[in-house]
C-alpha cells in the first residue's frame, strides 16, 4: 500500500467525522465554518500529499514538513486564542447574569417585606 492511500484514508476519515459532527448539530455553526475549512484541508492534503511539497518550493522552504508544521501550529494557535476570547466573553456574560439575578431577587425580597 502506498503512503498516498494511507494519507488519503486518514484525511477522508477525519473530514467525514467533522462533517458528520456538523450535520448532527453537535458543533455550533460559528465553529462549524472553521472545522469545514479544516476538513477541506485534511481532505486535499490527504489525497494529494505532494501539494505541500509544491507549496514549500513556492515559499522557498527547503524542508517541506516544516511548512506543514508551521502552518498547522499557526492554525492551532489562532484557534486557541479565539477560544480564550470567546471564553472571556462568556465569563463576562455569566457574571453579569449572576449579578442581575441577585439584584432582582434582592428587590423582590425587599418588596415582600
Amino acid at each position: 500500500m502506498s503512503y498516498q492511500i494511507t494519507s488519503a484514508i486518514l484525511g477522508l476519515c477525519l473530514a467525514t467525522i467533522i462533517l458528520w459532527l456538523i450535520r448532527r448539530d453537535r458543533l455550533h455553526s460559528r465553529h462549524g465554518f472553521w472545522w469545514l475549512v479544516v476538513a477541506l484541508g485534511v481532505m486535499v492534503l490527504g489525497v494529494f500529499p505532494t501539494f505541500i511539497d509544491k507549496l514549500a518550493v513556492f515559499f522557498g522552504v527547503s524542508y517541506p514538513p516544516t511548512l506543514l508544521f508551521i502552518l498547522g501550529m499557526g492554525m492551532i494557535l489562532i484557534k486557541v486564542i479565539n477560544m480564550d476570547l470567546h471564553q472571556s466573553n462568556l465569563e463576562r456574560k455569566i457574571r453579569s447574569l449572576a449579578q442581575r439575578m441577585a439584584i432582582l431577587e434582592g428587590e423582590k425580597q425587599d418588596e415582600d417585606l
Binding site: R95, A98, Q99, A102, I103, E105, G106
Partner: protein, 232 residues
C-alpha cells in the same frame, strides 16, 4: 444624633462572615440613616439570614464571583436605584462605621475617596504595592483598601461592562478610574485588625501568586507604560 443621608448606599460584600456582619450593620444603622446592602458572595453559613434580620437589603449571588464581583453587584444596584454616593466596606470588622462621615465629607471635592490605612501592610505587601505603583503610575498610599466612597460618575463607570472581568477591587479598579480621568483622594482612617478570618488574597502562596500575576498583567496592559504605547 443620626445624620440623614438619603442618597447614600453602603455596600458590604460578605462571604461567610456570620460573626461580624450583623454587628457592622447595627453599628451603621445606629449612627446613620443610610441604605445598607449586603452582597452575599455565595455564603454557606447564615450570613444572609443575619444580614436580613439586622435590616439590610441582601443581594445573594447564585455562585461566588469574588470580592469585586460582589461589590460590582452592589454598584449596579446603586446605579439602578439612582443612589448618588456608594460606600464600600469589608464585612470582616476591619472598618468602622465612624469612617463613613469622613468619607462623605471628602467626596464632595472629588469622584472617589479611599479610606487609607497604609501602615497595615507587611513588608512583602509594601514591596508588592511599590511595584504596582511603579507599573501603573498611580501614586496612592493604600492601593488595596476596601473602604471607599464613589460618586455617581464613578458608580456609573464601575457598573459598566468594562469592569465586569476584574477580579479584585484594588489595582484594576483604580486604573479604570484613573484612565477615565476621575479624581481619587485618600483620607486617613482607622482600621482594626481583622476580628475573624484572614485576607482573602494574602492567605496562601497560591492565591498570592495568582493575585500578583493578574494584577501585574493588568498594570502592564493598562498602566502608565501601556498608555504610552497606545498614544504614540
Amino acid at each position: 444624633m443620626k445624620s440623614s443621608c438619603e442618597s447614600v448606599i453602603v455596600l458590604i460584600p460578605a462571604k461567610n462572615e456570620v460573626q461580624t456582619v450583623g454587628k457592622i450593620i447595627d453599628e451603621i444603622k445606629s449612627k446613620l440613616s443610610v441604605t445598607v446592602v449586603v452582597i452575599d458572595d455565595a455564603s454557606t453559613d447564615d450570613t444572609i439570614k443575619i444580614a436580613r434580620t439586622a435590616g439590610a437589603i441582601v443581594l445573594s449571588l447564585p455562585f461566588s464571583l469574588g470580592a469585586w464581583g460582589a461589590i460590582q453587584t452592589g454598584l449596579r444596584y446603586a446605579a439602578k436605584h439612582n443612589f448618588k454616593i456608594a460606600i464600600t466596606m469589608d464585612a470582616d470588622g476591619q472598618h468602622e462605621a465612624d469612617s463613613i462621615p469622613i468619607l462623605l465629607n471628602a467626596i464632595h471635592q472629588c469622584d472617589v475617596v479611599i479610606g487609607a490605612y497604609p501602615q497595615r501592610g507587611s513588608l512583602s505587601r509594601q514591596v508588592a504595592w511599590q511595584l504596582f505603583r511603579k507599573l501603573s503610575g498611580i501614586n496612592l498610599e493604600d492601593l488595596t483598601s476596601g473602604l471607599r466612597a464613589y460618586n455617581s460618575k464613578a458608580i456609573k463607570l464601575l457598573a459598566s461592562k468594562s469592569a465586569t472581568l476584574l477580579d479584585y477591587q484594588d489595582m484594576g479598579v483604580l486604573i479604570l478610574l484613573h484612565s477615565a480621568g476621575l479624581q481619587i483622594v485618600e483620607v486617613p482612617t482607622l482600621m482594626h485588625p481583622r476580628s475573624n478570618g484572614h485576607s482573602r488574597i494574602f492567605n496562601s502562596w497560591w492565591a498570592v501568586s495568582k493575585y500578583m500575576l493578574c494584577t501585574g498583567i493588568l498594570c502592564l496592559a493598562h498602566g502608565k507604560y501601556g498608555e504610552k504605547c497606545r498614544t504614540k
